[in-house]
Each structure stands twice: as C-alpha cells, then as structure tokens.
C-alpha cells in the first residue's frame, strides 16, 4: 500500500507535466508534510497547537534572510539551507513550547494563538525582516516548464521523512508516553512519565519539518511577506487537515492534506469569487466534522469494524446462512 502510493507520487510529475497542476502538487505535498509533523505532537498528545505558522514563518525567514544576505545564486544550492531552517524553527520552538506548555489543553490552544500574533507583529515591525514590504529571494534561473520539479521531489522527500519520523515516534516508548498524556495526563504523571519534558520534546521535534516546509515554500514563491508566511489560516488549515483525515493516526494527516489542499486549490482556480469559495469551504468543513467526527481514517475503520461485527453476529445466530454463502 505505502510503497504503491510512493511510486504513484514519484511518477506523478512525469505524467502530469502541466505547471499549474504540479504547482498545486508542490503545495499539497508541503501541507502533507506539515500536517504529519503537526500531528506527531498535537495528534498524539492531544495538545492542539494553533501556532504552527510560527515555525513555518521562521523557516521561511531563515531561508530568505540567509540566501539574500549571503548573496547566494538562486538554484539548487539553496536547498542546503532547508535543514538549517528546520533547526532554527526547533530552536524557536523551545522557548515557545516552554511558555505554552505550562497550561493544559484548552488554554494551550489560545496561548499558541497569542504567541503566533507576537511573532507576526515582530515580523511586520522588526527592522531586520524587511517589514511589511517583505524580502525578495535570489531569482532561480530554471526553465518555466521544469521549475516545479525539484521542489516537488524535495517536498516529497519531506513527506517521506515526516511520515517515517511520525511512525517511528508512534512505535517508540516516547510515542507511548505522548499517547498516555493524551488519554489522561494526571495518570501518566502518576505513573512516572516526565510529562513536561515529553511534551516539550514532542513540540520541538514537530517544529523541524514545519520549518523546513516554510523554507521550501519561501524558495518556491521567491518573495515573502510577513502576513503570508505568518498566516493565521495556516494554523487552522493544518489542524483541520489532521482532523479531516484522522486526528492522531498516521495515515490521516496525509489523506487530509492531500484532499483538502488539492480541493482548496482547485476551488480557488475554479471560483474566482473568493467569498463563494469561503462559504463552500466552510460548509464542506462543517459537514466533515459533523458527520465524520473521527476523520476519514477513524470513520472508515469504525464502519469496517461494525461490518465485521455484524457478520460475526450473523454467523453466530444463523450458521447455515454463512455456510450457504461462503
């Protein structure tokens, strides 16, 4: 299953060569990576962060500031800055997490929003960020038709990295500790889980991929503005994707990112009217949450389990019916 999906994703840009669609694919992959990484902390621990744009923005600004101040030639060499941007995001995540994780879940949500606005105002008003005029990155002299390809494969690599990391965490002792916090934090604490350290580690780890994605996005766009990389809708979108796919599952955020970002971009393309798009997006979003509160993965597996249970009950009550229809 997983390898088949990977093969499809690897050959996709070789078959669909229209730059409009490959550009959508790049941003979809970036969101899949971000959501998977977000879910690695928020989904497993139950602490819903609405401040992930802090890390996205820090990553984007690292890329923009370093590559423009070092007068780098635009091109493949810039990709070396991507892991650096991830590290910067992690360094930022330590104090942010230390402050926000002092409180429990609901207040945590609001504090991450508040901290996000601190960073956004800083980016708009600080002198080194170029203010609201933004920063231009070095121009990348690639041919228009092939411009998206390197970004696509870098983004795909990040999706694979985030998924492997998330799966690794899930199987580890550390992941179990995160899940224990989600189920009952006080009990986890009582059982000897160092909850503060575990939460802070998870929070910091999840910042890495999000920072890298911000850096790739900055490079891809070529010009960044504080409002677009420190974007409140980014915070919400990432959380929404995870909830849509399946909060706390491995496959869920990938599916959510794929479905939501691709359909969102398609809706933007087909409805030039932004307001109608907002309404449609809101309705879609509402329907999914109300009718699939556990997300696609949770909903489907529940349906599957119910079906299996029904069959079992049928076979228990009426053995001949099963025998007649093997």
């Amino acid at each position: 299953m997983w390898s088949l999906a990977l093969v499809v994703l690897v050959v996709f840009p070789l078959i669909v060569t229209n730059p409009t669609y490959t550009a959508i694919a790049v941003s979809t992959l970036l969101f899949m990576a971000c959501t998977t990484s977000w879910n690695m902390f928020s989904g497993y621990s139950g602490y819903v962060s609405l401040g992930s744009a802090i890390f996205y923005g820090c990553g984007a600004y690292t890329m923009a500031l370093v590559s423009s101040h070092a007068h780098m030639a635009g091109g493949g060499a810039q990709f070396w800055l991507v892991p650096l941007a991830g590290l910067v995001a992690m360094v930022v995540a330590v104090p942010v997490g230390a402050i926000a994780l002092r409180v429990r879940r609901h207040t945590f949500v609001v504090i991450t929003i508040a901290l996000f606005f601190v960073f956004q105002t800083l980016a708009i008003n600080a002198s080194f960020t170029g203010g609201s005029a933004g920063i231009s990155l070095p121009l990348i002299p690639w041919l228009f038709n092939y411009y998206n390809l390197p970004f696509y494969y870098v983004a795909l690599g990040m999706v694979v990295f985030a998924t492997l990391l998330s799966a690794g965490v899930r199987r580890s002792r550390f992941g179990l500790q995160l899940l224990a916090i989600r189920d009952d934090e006080d009990r986890a604490l009582g059982l000897g889980v160092r909850v503060t350290a575990v939460k802070l580690t998870g929070f910091t780890m999840s910042a890495f991929t999000i920072g890298m994605a911000g850096a790739v996005y900055a490079m891809f766009i070529g010009q960044i503005y504080p409002q677009f990389v420190f974007d409140p809708t980014f915070d919400i979108t990432v959380a929404l994707m995870a909830f849509l796919g399946g909060f706390g599952t491995l496959l869920g955020p990938l599916l959510g990112g794929l479905i939501l970002e691709a359909s969102q971009q398609y809706l933007v393309l087909s409805f030039s009217n932004g307001s109608l798009y907002l309404i449609l997006f809101g309705v879609l979003f509402l329907l999914v949450i109300l009718f699939m509160p556990q997300g696609i993965v949770g909903g489907v597996s529940q349906w599957w389990a119910l079906r299996a249970l029904k069959r079992e009950m049928v076979s228990m009550t009426d053995p001949e019916a099963v025998g007649a229809n093997p």
């Binding site: 609901h106 949500v109 959380a239 509402l286």
Partner: protein
C-alpha cells in the same frame, strides 16, 4: 509625552475596555458552561455591526434603537447554532472540535458578509459618532460615553440575572459542575442553549459600538477574535469578573504604550504581558486551577 495624553489613554482604556468586556463576557460564559470555544464570536460581532449598519442606512433607525432588533436577532442566531451544531459535538475532543466547527461557521458568515456588503471598510454613522464633549480638557466623542453606559448597563443586567435570579443560579450551578447541576434537577441542556444565545446576543451591542468607533469589514473579525480569546485567557477561562478586568487592562495597556512608546508596540506589549502573566499564573488572573482538567 504629556500628562493629558496619558489621562486620555486611561480614560479611553476604561471606556473602550468595557465594550470589549461585554463581548468577552459572552465568550467566557459559553466556555464556562459548555466547554466550547466559540471562534465565531469575532465574526458575530461584525455581523451585529453590519445589522446595525443596514438598519441605520436603509431604514433610518438610530443605532441604539436598532439594538431592540439586533440583540434578539443574534440571540436567535446563537440558539440556532447551538441547536444544530453544538449539540452534535461529543467525545473527549469536544472542545477542540468546537474550535473547528465554530471556525467553519465563521468562514461561512465571513463569505456571506463579503458577498452582501463587499470587502470595503464601512463605519457606522450618527450624530454622537461625530460630535465630542469636553472633559478634563480632553475632547471625547459622545459614542465612547454612550457605548460605555450601554456596556455597563448590559453587564449589570447580566450580573443581576446571574446572581439575583433563579435562572442565574442554575447557570452558575452549570458553570461550577454540570453533572452535579443535572443531579439536582437543572435542565443543563436548556441552560446551555440559552447561555449560548445570551453569549452571542451581547455581540449585537458590542458590534454596534465597535462599528461606530472603528472602520470594519468582515476580515476585521480575525483581529477581534484573537483579542477576545486572549482577554478570556488572561482573565481566567469561565470567569466573568476576570473577563471584565482583563478587557480593561488590555485596552488601557495598549493605549498607554501607544502614548508613551509607539502605537506599533502596543499590541506586542499586550501579548507579551499576557505571556508573562500566564507563565506565573497559568489559570489566568481570576481563574481557579481545576484539579483534573480533561
């Protein structure tokens, strides 16, 4: 900097802060009783402002008189939202889900408002918006004073309702402990619905004053909701007195910083203070620390 500017900032802080307190009280009431974070509160304030705008521009109804229509309208909006959407939320992730659901509702209302009123800024107009009176050698527009009186009157009514009536007692019981309230025969479901309606209804008054003192469009709601959320967190989630205190603190602090330092830094300073306060008192200024928080 001079002292009259400082007095002006303090005065403005109290006058405007009371209006924010009114809007935040609705939010904290909803959270306290239902454990629901209503992200749509910001856009509902804007909806209230647009309703007042329509009534005054198209029907020539005075802004304050129009509240007789807009407050019940938003009360009904709140009831409908609660009945159709909030009752559907169940399970351990209920509060997180409520953020997403109310955000979706906010997006739908934002889209609709953009289509109806366009994205150009508008501001409510009336004689008391343009004219000022003199106090302590300062010119204050009448609307600030009227808005303050309105907010104080409505907050007062809310407090009387909460602390002097039987229904208020059942709301406070539900605030304290839903299960225990249900056990002594309080219809918690009905209380929740009415609380949601009340929490939304106050946005009509808040929106009218906000719309008369600021130019607004639908996207102004993002700024509003982030402020309202931080107010209720700073005050202590679910605490009515905390919301009042935090709202006045937020606006006064912002105004004072704008005077003594620079308007650019007033918002970051507020958020910075919020972070400091919460590092020392995670439960907020007035909030209680619950023993087992799910």
């Amino acid at each position: 900097m001079n002292s009259s500017a400082l007095i002006h900032a303090l005065l403005d802080g109290v006058l405007t802060g009371s209006v924010y307190a009114l809007m935040a009280t609705g939010l904290t009431l909803i959270f306290g009783v239902m454990n629901i974070i209503n992200i749509a509160q910001g856009i509902l304030v804007i909806l209230g402002a647009y309703l007042s705008y329509t009534l005054s521009v198209h029907f020539g109804i005075d802004l304050f008189a129009g509240l007789v229509i807009t407050i019940p309208t938003l009360f009904v909006v709140g009831i409908v939202v609660e009945r159709f959407f909030m009752t559907k939320l169940k399970g351990p992730e209920r509060t997180s889900m409520s953020i997403l659901v109310t955000y979706a509702i906010a997006l739908i209302i934002e889209g609709a408002l953009n289509m109806i009123y366009s994205i150009n800024d508008v501001q409510l107009k009336a004689w008391y918006v343009n004219q000022s009176f003199r106090v302590f050698g300062l010119w204050i527009p009448y609307i600030y004073m009227f808005g303050f009186f309105l907010a104080v009157a409505l907050l007062g009514a809310l407090y009387v309702m909460l602390y002097r009536t039987r229904f208020g007692a059942s709301i406070r019981a539900s605030l304290a402990d839903q299960t225990a309230a249900a056990l002594i025969g309080i219809n918690v479901k009905r209380v929740s619905t009415i609380c949601f309606g009340l929490g939304v209804a106050v946005t009509a008054a808040g929106g009218m004053v906000y719309g008369a003192t600021n130019a607004f469009n639908a996207s102004t709601s993002y700024d509003l909701i982030s402020r309202l959320l931080t107010i209720i967190v700073l005050g202590g989630m679910g605490s009515l007195g905390g919301a009042l205190l935090a709202a006045i603190l937020m606006v006064t602090l912002g105004d004072v910083i704008a005077v003594v330092w620079s308007p650019i830094w007033s918002t970051p300073t507020y958020f910075f203070v919020l972070v400091i306060v919460l590092s020392l008192r995670p439960q907020g200024l007035v909030g209680k620390l619950s023993v087992r928080e799910a």
